[in-house]
Symmetry: C2
Subunit: 425 residues, 2 copies
């Protein structure tokens, strides 16, 4: 007999089906017991005659096979059990109470027991949504004629020219883990693919320990050639986010309900120069210390401001200073750049911008930033051979998930957390 998924049981009313899954809950009521069986598609109640089956054998979280007749009980479907076979018996009790709606665990217990905690409906819903965000990103870009690429994570230098790199012993060479696919995605534009994207891990050896940072995280990157300026990227990101959220509504309706997700609209998103945001923060919120960048508190306040004034969950901040942006950023006027951040509910989830596509300008910019062009020869050389105007952006997958689901800590949105103290599980 073929396995029947929980979500399909209703199609077999009054027939015998074979279900397979985990024992979620057992409740004895005199001569019968209610066993909740859980598989990847849902949970169903199975009614067991305790004279025929010894309930003591049905330990929570054991994997079982249940054969029985599908019955309708008011609005719900249940199984009148004929046979139960234990496939894999749980040897221990679960260290956490999985069948509670809200487990209310502290973050360390949650992620120390990551694989087990994922069996809880609310936790598993986080990752169903997260994986569907990534899927929407990729699907939208494929429709827009982007090519998916897989660029190396073992690199010889940092894209941001920074020091926050993890070192790898690579045979007799010193190598590092890539901070971003920046150079490689630009190279792929130059290689003639024009429009490329990548969903992959990036590595930041930042030692601070906050609720917003991971040392290994999933970056959804894109890069495109033949743009006018960063406004083309901003427009693309608005379309992209709309697509992602509409796709979520279609494919994750159950998880959205379980987590009571408030899916934002992405319309009339305000776009303001960073300097304007800084003025607002100074004038409205008496936050006076900012000059050329915005801090975490500033992001929260400007998020609050645009929500109140424009009813928008998003705001694009543009025209960051040359000093604050990497050497490959296209300058704008004397001291600014064609760059932007996207703030979503008070947190930066995207950095993007137009890149320099002129060899001499890029080389000079490296020198101005105190970098040695020789160290970047491999990257720099591609600009000698015809490079279209181009730009790109990156969205942090765990960050957008965190803000969308209103999670308190980014670790809740990490499949397996890599932070300063954690390489397990």
């Amino acid at each position: 007999m073929e396995r029947c998924l929980v979500s399909e049981a209703y199609k077999n009313l009054e027939s015998v089906v074979k279900l397979q899954g985990w024992i979620h809950k057992v409740r004895k009521l005199g001569r019968i017991a209610f066993v909740l069986l859980r598989d990847r598609t849902g949970i169903i109640q199975c009614v067991v005659d305790t004279k025929k089956f010894d309930i003591k054998d049905l330990k929570l979280e054991s994997v079982v096979e249940i054969k029985g007749i599908v019955k309708q009980n008011k609005e719900k479907f249940e199984i009148q059990v004929g046979d139960i076979k234990i496939i894999s018996k749980a040897l221990d009790e679960s260290p956490i109470e999985l069948n509670k709606e809200d487990m209310e665990l502290n973050i360390d217990t949650l992620i120390d027991n990551r694989v087990i905690s994922m069996r809880n409906k609310k936790v598993s819903s986080i990752f169903k949504i997260e994986t569907e965000i990534a899927h929407g990103f990729s699907e939208f870009l494929v429709k827009k004629d982007f090519t998916e690429i897989y660029t190396p994570k073992i690199v010889s230098e940092g894209a941001e020219g920074g020091t926050e790199l993890f070192k790898v012993k690579y045979f007799d060479m010193d190598a590092y883990l890539a901070q971003s696919p920046q150079f490689y995605k630009q190279m792929m534009v130059s290689a003639g693919y024009e429009r490329v994207f990548e969903i992959g891990h990036v590595y930041r050896a930042e030692s601070h320990d906050t609720k917003r940072h991971l040392n290994e995280y999933i970056s959804m990157d894109l890069e495109m050639g033949f743009i006018e300026d960063e406004m083309d990227l901003i427009k693309l990101e608005i379309q992209l986010l709309n697509y992602i959220f509409e796709n979520l509504k279609k494919r994750c309706s159950e998880s959205i309900e379980v987590l009571k997700v408030d899916i934002p609209t992405v319309e009339n998103v305000p776009i303001m120069a960073l300097s304007e945001a800084i003025s607002i923060l100074r004038e409205k919120y008496n936050k006076t210390e900012l000059t050329e960048d915005i801090d975490h508190e500033g992001e929260e306040l400007i998020g609050k401001f645009v929500k109140e004034k424009y009813n928008s969950d998003f705001v694009f901040l543009t025209h960051y200073s040359k000093e604050k942006r990497p050497m490959y950023t296209m300058p704008c006027k004397e001291k600014l750049t064609h760059s932007f951040d996207l703030i979503f509910r008070g947190m930066e989830i995207t950095t993007g911008g137009q890149r320099i596509n002129n060899y001499n300008m890029l080389k000079q910019n490296m020198i101005d930033k105190g970098l040695n062009p020789e160290s970047f020869k491999n990257y720099l050389d591609i600009f000698k051979l015809g490079m279209p105007p181009h730009g790109g952006l990156a969205i942090g997958l765990e960050r957008i998930t965190m803000k969308l689901l209103n999670l308190d800590n980014i670790r809740e949105a990490a499949f397996f957390v890599r932070d300063k103290k954690r390489i397990l599980p």
Copy 2:
């Protein structure tokens, strides 16, 4: 005016269009010149009046914008140029002749100049096909209710218990780059997702330098719960490969033509025990030294054998010995396992099998293999809490591409090569 792609020019017959791309070739013929313009969708001939434009300025590989009228010339479309604007002038000559059909480069020149070599049609077609293979893999599995996962590449131990690991300095801990997502994909099955897949980099610090090995490569991994045995995986892989190849025919017809790809059929694939393959090699090919495993020459010969006897490009070899398979492999009879390899045109492209899902059996197997279960505690513990029978497989993306396209060296199918001597570009 909106940019018109080369592939769309025919839709604008007798109208003015704006094209953007690279100068692929220039040929002067008296008072006119033929300029071939290349963008991501193709190449088109542009007819230039040399009295109006100085051809000397049109250096090969410069990025230009051309405005002109679309004309039909017999079967082909061309542009009668009204205006040319140089967007990004090539400062150098290309070190390789990109506009030749066959560049006939040696492998080092090809990959040292990777970004430039990709501008050649034959080379770029390789990666169009490769990215579409990955896309087909993912699309098929999503249809089959698999969830895409992103597991950590920074890990605390090797999945294969081996020594071929790259070491990472991770704060004050010793960490390694993941050899495979093996433990994590099994964990995600246990976490209740049941069916998961991942397309991502894996790392093998093997120091041999062959045409078949990379030290960083792209692994297309899947894992599924509630299987009977490895035959379920073999059946799934046959369906999967069929889907991938049919998808290629639909979406990559031009690249298939350019590279003259012979797309195989995946029907009636022979499935034979490894011992049978070894007997065949001994009896038919006088290859007598094999006992419990098959070597590269053996793979080639058995590939030849099944092609001749069954007209199949594929053969599944099954029942590898316990000794030769990792500790998580489900045993079969006394000394064998529920495992398989898939040989495609004489090269292994997949390893897969059923995994042990019983805690005590897995622990004992670790001990039998001389491994310390304490080192794998985090992984082993998940088997205490109800683990369905499960298994999985992995396909090497560069390998399947290499064999499909009949490439001589796997490096030709690597976006950016990471081998013993190479971390650039």
